[in-house]
């Protein structure tokens, strides 16, 4: 093989690699931008772990260990109003949570979290932290993890539908 042929072959191979790389990236982007369900492995185990750390520090007071919310607490007779003024804390995991959000987008939930949570310090986490907490909520809800992280962008999350 002369030098020119060698160069041509190398250039062709590089071109192939380039196209494969571009195509692969395109397909990843396309996958990320295609409508999906939370049942399709839309977060990673590592992301949920990061989210758990934030959850334990910023969310657990009101939404409790497993995301069951204050509604799951035992009512103490005569003290039903002892915590008047405390924020309502709905379930953020499990059946009650999935039923409430069934058919809505992960983007809507992400927006709500960023605008209202934690109560009194809304928006005090980073965009990535909110996405990580959302991933942990999905893990608490026994939804499967996958290979890609939940994006920290509402427009992309809008393509992900919450389903029971």
């Amino acid at each position: 093989m002369n030098r020119r042929t060698q160069w041509t072959s190398a250039a062709a191979a590089a071109l192939v690699v380039f196209f494969v790389f571009v195509a692969s990236g395109f397909s990843r982007t396309a996958a990320a931008q295609a409508p999906r369900s939370i049942k399709n492995g839309v977060y990673t185990v590592d992301q949920a772990r990061r989210g758990r750390d934030h959850y334990r520090k910023r969310c657990v007071l009101c939404h409790l260990d497993n995301g069951q919310g204050r509604g799951a607490e035992v009512e103490i007779v005569g003290q039903s109003l002892e915590r008047e003024g405390d924020a309502e804390a709905p379930a953020v995991a499990g059946d009650p949570f999935l039923s409430k959000w069934n058919g809505k987008s992960a983007g809507a939930l992400y927006d709500l979290m960023r605008k209202t949570m934690p109560v009194g310090s809304a928006g005090s986490l980073s965009a990535q932290d909110y996405a990580d907490v959302l991933a942990y909520m999905l893990e608490l809800s026994k939804l499967p993890a996958g290979q890609q992280e939940l994006p920290a962008a509402a427009d992309q999350l809008t393509l992900i539908t919450i389903e029971r």
Binding site: L61, D65, V74, E82
Partner: protein, 618 residues
């Protein structure tokens, strides 16, 4: 007989005749009001001994419940509205089947009721909760002292073991109480930061925190089940006293499906039901109630007919409600509380019953004196000039609405982090507040605009409501603490000396306290999971306590109001099924009117005459 003596005798006779005529007139009027009423009496039997059986008589036409007690197996109830009744009797572990009876005016039929084993007066057990002795739930060890001397000064003994959780949650709860986030944001609830560093009165050092977390994680951790402390003492009941008493409950109508508290907008707010808070009387004998269910309402009840009317708050439930008061001009005042917009700008609202309009919506902190971004009002009092004072439970201040100028001015309470709960006016136009966060009483001298604080013998503690008796003594009810009962505290203003009286009931959790015309002190007592809610009486002369179990076992009551005849009005706030406006008549034979009137006349400032020496106090 001399002429002068004769004149005197004639004058006395004339006076006597006038008094007789007046009395006859009043009696006739009262007889007229109660003339169309009925009575009912009967006997109750059971296969085992029972004490003070509770006989429930529900007038199904008017949706009113009466409850009387048996004494020696006998009961009687009067006066009752004519109509159709369902009658049932319950005692501990015993109950009868329901009987129906129709009562007509002037009748007094007799019923025989037989109880059998059953659920009785106690509610059905809660799922997933067990009861145990205090010593089992709270074993000795480091951390217990912190709980008993810190947490339990406000929380009762069920609060912690009923909510097992991980160490993360317990740390977060402790962080909430110690105000862990308050260096970067404002407090969002009046319990947040109650244990914050050097501004609080409770022992809670770094070591205390560590021992607390270790103790609760060990005994009430993730693997623990919710538990309640079993009440080990029966409520002392006096059948002879209870046999004269009668409760009435005017049930609030349930909203039809899809409307009001069960509408799509509000069904998931609060409890999805109506929710009575505080009661007050107007000059016509009507009883007014704040309904904190969603949407928020004022309720006007005419007790003589049972007729009710509701009035929605101007912004639905946006700004919350809590207490109310009525001034001498008839305006119903109702300051805004938390609501759906807890950080909104709150107003003092005034409702005119004549026009049925909210005619006053006063900015309550016009100069933004309170720096916390979240601020809510709660209780109120009126001085002799009808100036209105409103406590900021979130904000630690009092707003004064000065009648003469129409201006609102805010006075911060001197104690830092103060959480003022009840507010009352004494005979000298001092405004007194119960400080929920420490158990102190704060006095605001409305003439000199000065604060003075008083610490009862039991300090720090948890006080919610307070009141003044006819001698100008200040009374406050102190919540229980761990292994000691609740107390009533009296401050004698002439000596500055406190006296405290233990309630002889281990689980006593006294809330509001209120004098009757005979000088007895009445107080509402919150229930525990297995101890009935009570209205209780303390006679300071004999130091005797009497306890009256309420018709609704589990319904706590925050506020009581006493009439000139000694009837105790309240709302069973904790009611799940029968929110109502309720009254206890301690002696049904002394009822002359179903109307509710204050002792010294019209509502507003509670005292009959202006302060004695306002100028002298300047």
């Amino acid at each position: 007989m001399s002429k002068r003596l004769l004149t005197s005798v004639v004058a006395l006779a004339a006076l006597g005749w006038a008094a007789y005529v007046l009395n006859v007139g009043v009696a006739a009027q009262q007889r007229g009001e109660l003339a169309g009423m009925a009575r009912l009496s009967g006997t109750v039997t059971a296969p085992q001994a029972f004490k003070a059986g509770q006989v429930y008589l529900r007038n199904v036409d008017k949706n009113i419940l009466y409850m009387v007690f048996t004494s020696g197996g006998q009961f009687r109830a009067a006066p009752l509205f004519p109509g159709s009744y369902e009658v049932i009797v319950r005692a501990k572990g015993l109950e009868s089947t329901a009987q129906t009876v129709t009562l007509r005016a002037g009748e007094n039929p007799k019923l025989s009721l037989a109880m059998h084993a059953g659920q009785g007066v106690e509610p059905a057990p809660q799922a997933n909760v067990t009861f145990a002795r205090y010593s089992e739930i709270y074993p000795q060890g480091p951390g217990l002292q912190v709980i008993e001397q810190g947490c339990m000064r406000c929380h009762d003994e069920n609060f912690i073991p009923a909510r097992p959780a991980s160490e993360d949650v317990w740390k977060a709860r402790l962080g909430h109480m110690t105000g862990a986030e308050l260096n970067v944001r404002d407090s969002r609830a009046y319990n947040e930061g109650a244990l914050a560093g050097r501004v609080q009165w409770f022992p809670f050092s770094t070591r205390d925190k560590e021992e607390f977390v270790a103790y609760v994680t060990k005994h009430y951790g993730t693997d623990a089940k919710p538990r309640f402390v079993r009440a080990e003492q029966e409520v002392p009941l006096d059948e002879a006293v209870l046999g004269k008493a009668m409760f009435m409950e005017y049930y609030l109508p349930i909203d039809p499906p899809g409307t009001g508290s069960s509408s799509a907008e509000f069904a998931k707010r609060g409890r999805g039901i109506r929710w009575g808070q505080d009661v007050r009387f107007d000059a016509e004998g009507n009883v007014w109630l704040t309904d904190r269910g969603y949407p928020h309402r004022l309720v006007k009840l005419n007790p003589r007919t049972g007729q009710q009317k509701d009035y929605l708050y101007p912004d639905g439930a946006a700004n919350g409600n809590h207490d109310l008061t009525i001034d001498r001009f008839g305006t119903v005042w109702a300051p805004e509380h938390a609501g759906l917009k807890p950080d909104g700008a709150k107003r003092i609202l005034g409702f005119n019953p004549k026009t049925e309009k909210w005619e006053h919506q006063l900015p309550a902190d016009p100069d933004n004196v309170i720096r916390n971004s979240v601020k809510w009002m709660q209780s109120m009092a009126l001085d002799s000039k009808s100036n209105l004072y409103v406590g900021w439970i979130m904000g630690g201040a009092i707003s004064k609405y000065e009648r003469a100028t129409g201006k609102v001015k805010v006075y911060p309470i001197s104690e830092r982090g103060a959480v003022p709960y009840g507010v009352i006016a004494d005979r000298n136009d001092n405004i007194w507040m119960a400080l929920w966060n420490s158990g102190k009483l704060a006095k605001f001298d409305s003439i000199n605009e000065q604060w003075t604080e008083f610490a009862p013998l039991t300090f720090p503690s948890h006080i919610r409501r307070l009141n003044v008796d006819a001698q100008n003594n200040i009374w406050a009810a102190i919540w229980n603490q761990g292994r000691r009962p609740g107390k009533l505290a009296k401050l004698d203003q002439t000596t500055g000396r406190f006296t405290e009286y233990d309630v002889p009931l281990w689980t006593a959790q006294p809330y509001d306290v209120n004098p009757d015309p005979e000088g007895n002190m009445w107080f509402a007592d919150s229930p525990t999971p297995d101890r009935v809610a009570l209205i209780s009486k303390f006679n300071p002369r004999t130091r005797q306590f009497n306890f009256y179990p309420k018709p609704q076992f589990a319904a706590d009551t925050p506020k009581i109001q006493v009439t000139r005849e000694g009837a105790i009005w309240f709302s069973p706030r904790g009611s799940r099924n029968q929110p109502s406006i309720s009254v206890l008549y301690p002696d049904m034979d002394k009822i002359t009117s179903l109307g509710a009137f204050y002792q010294y006349g019209p509502p507003g400032n509670p005292w009959p005459s202006p302060p004695v020496s306002q100028t002298a106090r300047r």
